[in-house]
Amino acid sequence: MGVFVFLPLVLPLTAWPIARLAEQQLHPRAATWLLATVGGVLALCSTLCLMLLMVVGTAQLPGNPLPDAWADPEVRAVLPYDEVVGQAAIPLLAAVAGACAHLVWLHRRVRTRATRALAGLPEGRLAVLPDDERAYAYALPGGRGTAGARGRIVVSRAMLESLDARERQALIAHEEAHLTARHHRFLLVAGLAARANPFLRPLRTAVAYTAERWADEDAARAVGDRRTVARAIGKAALVSRAATGRGAATALVGFATAGPVPRRVAALLGPVPPAPALPPAWTAAGLALWTAAGGTAVSALASANATVTLFTVLRAATVL
């Protein structure tokens, strides 16, 4: 497999240009799908190669449960720098597994706790909580085994009272879009990818933004006026900031630096985004798209190649 086994570990870098450009140039729905898919595939390939490196590394440890033949010089010859990289892959893989498990655990816990908080309320899509101090609105995804399998929209009274009737409609339509399109899955995939390979972190920020934009556009279509949605977002952001009184200090992790709210408002005040279509290859968006697609393909090929090589070598070694 040679040096190519390292390719999937660094090829996520090819996703960087697309992360920025997809936000601006593609329809938010296409951008979310593209970025989450590219991120997921690149993360899988990267983890697979890490696992291959780990197998080679583990085989050299004294007292390991793998066949002794797997540590033969012939096997080690297929992997450059096998002592260093092979051993380093073990803690790295453990770190990746730990980080991903932690994210899934967090994901479950927030959903369970939020669902339980609503337990006493009457059934219904919309849960308005009588909180007059804190302005918030959330889409709480439903799941198997939880009440309200289709999910619920949680809005505080402070949030509703800061909006007029049409803006409330826009807010509800936005959260409804999150639930219908199951945006939390895209966010989870992007989050896991970012933990599997730190080079994929920009993709997670980008997916968080494009998912919001996707819901904004759906809300604009439902309400029939982009300006109303823009005003609802703007007012909600200003009133949340005023209500918490802590401003940017309460930033949700990873979201604040990019200033997504003004960008969303500006996008809604601008023209309707283009329908999902492949951009021509000679534009910046097209170039970024092909770079990302190429990187993903090479990454997939390299990890497949490494898997097959290692499998063949190990089988040969075991037979000997």
């Binding site: 967090l106 816990r109 009737a165 823009a230 007012k235 949340s240 900031r241 604040a256």
Partner: protein, 141 residues
């Protein structure tokens, strides 16, 4: 395993609190813990009912006043109020909730805020329709 147990017990407490609150809300006026106990079926020990009431009092979900040697209790918040308190606890306690709950808006930096106000002002000057019933729609500053 123990975590599972704790979770089950906590849910049990939440249900009991809801039951006690429902009983209090059905009362005509301030009532004693004994009255609440009878009202919810009498299966609970008197001390348990008092414990639940005290816990609700600590959460400011009920109010109490002294009547003779014991307290009489009145509900302060209904189930929705309790849910709001619980939800606030979730939101405060989960720094990473952004990864799970898609919030309508995210935090603003001071620069974002200036930019946002400029954008909204621009939109309003072009847009003479304005909200139909937007009288209460002041955003505060």
């Amino acid at each position: 395993m123990t975590d599972e147990d704790r979770r089950a017990r906590r849910r049990g407490q939440g249900e009991l609190e809801a039951q006690v609150l429902a009983a209090l809300r059905n009362a005509a006026g301030p009532v004693t813990a004994g009255w609440v106990r009878e009202r919810i079926g009498g299966a609970l020990a008197y001390t348990t009912v008092v414990t639940i009431l005290s816990r609700l009092y600590a959460k400011q979900s009920v109010t109490r006043e002294r009547a003779g040697r014991s307290f009489v209790w009145t509900p302060a918040a209904d189930e929705a109020g309790l849910a709001a308190l619980r939800m606030r606890k979730v939101l405060d306690g989960e720094p990473d909730r952004g990864a799970v709950l898609a919030s309508f808006v995210t935090a603003l930096s001071p620069d974002d805020e200036r930019l946002l106000r400029a954008l909204l002002d621009g939109a309003d000057s072009v847009d003479d329709v304005a909200g139909a019933d937007g009288a209460e729609a002041e955003t505060g500053d």
